[in-house]
């Protein structure tokens, strides 16, 4: 038996041990869901509903749509519980589903948007139209308003990023995932993830110059 197979076996055994030993782990809860334990699934939902809703909201910039997609994410997890394999962490699995749903939604929106004025303000690499959002140079009277305006500007700037840059940036800087987790969620290499995050930050810095 070669080393790689041994490592895989050890990894699977470790995951199984975790499932058996920790009844509150994600894997254990999903195992319980598989045999019909609705409370276990409710615990999983309670654990991930806010992060998933937040992630999809940052991706789509639409709260109601984000809530719908978050629910769809849990429905898919529930439906595919029988086919779930405990190779990776459950969070990687559920974030992958959420990412795919969010990207599908963004593409649907792009198809619906037949003619848009924002198309006049395309990025230099031609990836996605930018919102026409000139910064207001006048000082605002209230600090809270300033913060709100700044957060909105950041959110809008993120929403203009191409989806291939947006997802890794949010996963890294908003959700605080590691490069390894991001590469598993997006099913790309770590090098690609780092490169895309770097480019995403560069784009954002150009757009947010007035606020930095």
């Amino acid at each position: 038996m070669d080393t790689l197979s041994t490592i895989e076996l050890n990894f699977s055994a470790a995951v199984r041990r975790e499932v058996v030993s920790d009844p509150t782990s994600d894997h254990a809860l999903l195992e319980a869901t598989r045999i019909g334990d609705h409370d276990a699934f409710a615990q999983l939902v309670g654990r991930y509903r806010n992060p998933i809703t937040n992630y999809i909201y940052r991706m789509t910039n639409d709260y109601d749509g984000a809530v719908d997609l978050a629910q769809e994410t849990f429905v898919r997890v529930y439906r595919a519980a029988d086919r779930y394999q405990t190779t990776y962490a459950f969070s990687t699995y559920i974030y992958r589903i959420a990412t795919n749903l969010a990207i599908s939604e963004l593409r649907k929106r792009k198809r619906r948007k037949l003619v848009s004025l924002t198309g006049f303000f395309q990025t230099t690499d031609g990836a996605e139209p930018q919102e026409f959002n000139p910064p207001d140079k006048k000082p605002l009277p209230d600090t809270e308003l300033v913060d709100t305006e700044r957060r909105n500007a950041v959110q809008r700037a993120i929403a203009t990023l191409p989806e291939k840059y947006r997802a890794p940036l949010i996963l890294r800087d908003v959700e605080g995932k590691s490069y390894e987790d991001i590469s598993r969620i997006l099913e790309t290499s770590e090098g690609t993830v780092k490169s895309r995050i770097s480019r995403a930050r560069g784009f954002l810095r150009e757009k947010m110059t007035a606020y930095l």
Binding site: N50, T53, Q71, R79, S198, L212
Partner: protein, 266 residues
């Protein structure tokens, strides 16, 4: 060893995010104002993005999700009930469908055959041996029966069951009596209206059983015969065919034509 220049340092700054920069990069930032400005902007940007906060799911999230899951369970149950049919039931259903399809095809073919049959087809008439005179009850004949029996000309429709031995005479040179059918597999008819009446000689079988000069025909196919006397003692017999497919003269087996034919036949 990696060269320390502004390009490399800026790439490191962009990819670092919240992570600490290397010692070489920090020392470069002390000397390079441009790279220091970029580093400052980058850290501000990171604090802005990470400070966006988290959006929480609405309070009724669990309630709505439970309703959707109930729907999913119901759909699953429905699909399971469909797939839980036994293999025998499903194969029987497929066989029934096939049987229905075959029956429909056969019925369609039968119907199309009936539609494609020739229009002027006469049903096969088996000529019965009729030693007696033809039944004239249904024939609107004005002349006496004796005169009709001596009528020299008998018209008869051409039909598939009746094949006179002189059919080639029906076609006159230069006259195309064939009315082409629209399609070869559809109806085919022949127009005898523009041809002269064929001379019909009784078949051997008929002749043997019916040796008279009159060719036996079914009474129902007898034409309308009118005997007219012009007052000078020379009666004329007018034979009106029942169907305008032409007429054929029937001759006795002997070479001499029927006596009445000399009177003239229309």
């Amino acid at each position: 060893m990696k060269r320390i220049n502004c390009g490399n340092i800026r790439r490191e700054i962009e990819s670092a995010g919240s992570a600490r920069l290397s010692r070489d990069a920090i020392s470069h930032l002390r000397d390079c104002a441009g790279c220091a400005e970029i580093s400052r902007q980058q850290s501000n940007l990171h604090s802005l993005v990470s400070g966006l906060g988290t959006v929480e799911a609405p309070a009724d999230f669990d309630f709505r999700l439970r309703a959707r899951l109930v729907e999913v369970d119901q759909k699953r149950a429905r699909s399971r009930s469909f797939t839980s049919f036994s293999l025998g039931f499903r194969s029987a259903a497929v066989a029934a469908m096939l049987l229905l399809t075959v029956a429909a095809v056969v019925l369609f073919n039968l119907k199309s055959r009936v539609d494609n049959s020739p229009v002027a087809v006469q049903p096969a008439v088996s000529q019965p041996a009729m030693p007696a005179a033809p039944d004239t009850r249904t024939t609107p004949t004005l002349a006496p029966v004796q005169a009709v029996a001596e009528a020299p000309v008998i018209t008869q429709q051409a039909g598939p069951a009746y094949k006179p031995s002189v059919v080639p005479q029906l076609k006159r040179r230069g006259v195309n009596s064939e009315v082409a059918s629209t399609r070869s597999n559809r109806s085919a008819s022949r127009d005898f209206s523009s041809t002269s009446a064929g001379v019909v000689r009784p078949f051997d079988q008929v002749a043997g059983s019916f040796p008279t000069e009159a060719f036996p025909i079914n009474a129902s196919y007898q034409p309308l015969k009118v005997s007219v006397d012009n007052g000078s003692g020379s009666p004329r017999t007018i034979s009106l065919p029942s169907v305008s497919f032409g007429s054929q003269r029937a001759l006795s087996q002997s070479a001499t034509p029927l006596v009445a034919s000399a009177r003239g036949t229309w």
